[in-house]
Symmetry: C2
Subunit: 171 residues, 2 copies
């Protein structure tokens, strides 16, 4: 979020409302959830951090707007972000923790936890595939949804391996 806003500002100065729209468009279906307030919260934090500067602009017949501009260190930050090749969480560590917990506590049967999870992922996979069909073949939204689908399929395969493992261990 922080970085995305900075990157958009590095193209040209903008005000909050504008930024929100761009982000929503960029994220497609996933972007609807974006709370408008968060943009402004983030912007004021960026300002406090000295990464952006503000200027008030009066508009005839419209509410005033606050135009944000990148500072030099803001521009540095963007460059840094674009060249940083880290990648979000590599493994479903959370779920592994849950399985571990389930097996430790005896409160739930790990195999049924896995089953529930797989049903949920299958549901999502269908949902994502449906959404993807709605997008035209060369749209960015489609590409994003295909990425989601690939990942879901990988996770489902992993769940199947987990299930196998637990079943064998119990026998």
């Amino acid at each position: 979020m922080r970085e995305a806003i900075l990157a958009l500002l590095s193209k040209e100065p903008a005000h909050g409302y504008e930024l929100r729209q761009k982000l929503v468009r960029a994220l497609g279906p996933a972007g609807e959830a974006l709370n408008p307030g968060q943009i402004y919260v983030t912007l004021s934090r960026l300002q406090r951090a000295g990464l952006v500067e503000v200027e008030d602009v009066e508009q005839a017949g419209l509410p005033d707007k606050r135009v944000y501009t990148l500072t030099a260190s803001g521009r540095d930050r963007v460059r840094e972000w674009l060249s940083d090749a880290s990648w979000s969480k590599v493994a479903p560590v959370d779920f592994h923790l849950k399985l571990f917990a389930a097996s430790q506590t005896g409160l739930a049967d790990p195999v049924s936890v896995i089953d529930g999870q797989r049903l949920e992922l299958l549901r999502r996979l269908r949902e994502v595939q449906n959404l993807a069909q709605g997008e035209s073949a060369d749209s960015e939204g489609r590409l994003l949804l295909e990425g989601a689908a690939l990942r879901l399929q990988a996770d489902i395969r992993w769940l199947e391996a987990c299930e196998q493992w637990w079943i064998e261990r119990d026998s």
Copy 2:
């Protein structure tokens, strides 16, 4: 984290140090990074939320320890968590945002951003596969690492699709 601690406590009361060790063991290679302080921060927040209770226990020849016990609402929370089938972020939305930013700002070439990312993921994949070979075939750690590998492969395939898309768009 919150939930993992609660789950461990639902098996039996424990003190912070003990919990940390269990978590580190459960997470294997990923758990080394866990800062001891965080356990205590989390425990005190859980206490404030009424999910756990504390009792001080004196030990002969050892420092006192604080033993945490689940409350009734803590136990409810664990049950809730185990039956909740949500799943961590479904798509590499962050990276998509970065590509979008790169293409908007002209500060970086999207295709080279993708390449850098793919190199990084390939590196990680090798790393994860090496780690997996070190684990015995039926260990939990191995299973987790295999999940990570599957997901990395899916992400790499997705990056290849992204690259294709950008190359075609530019031509």
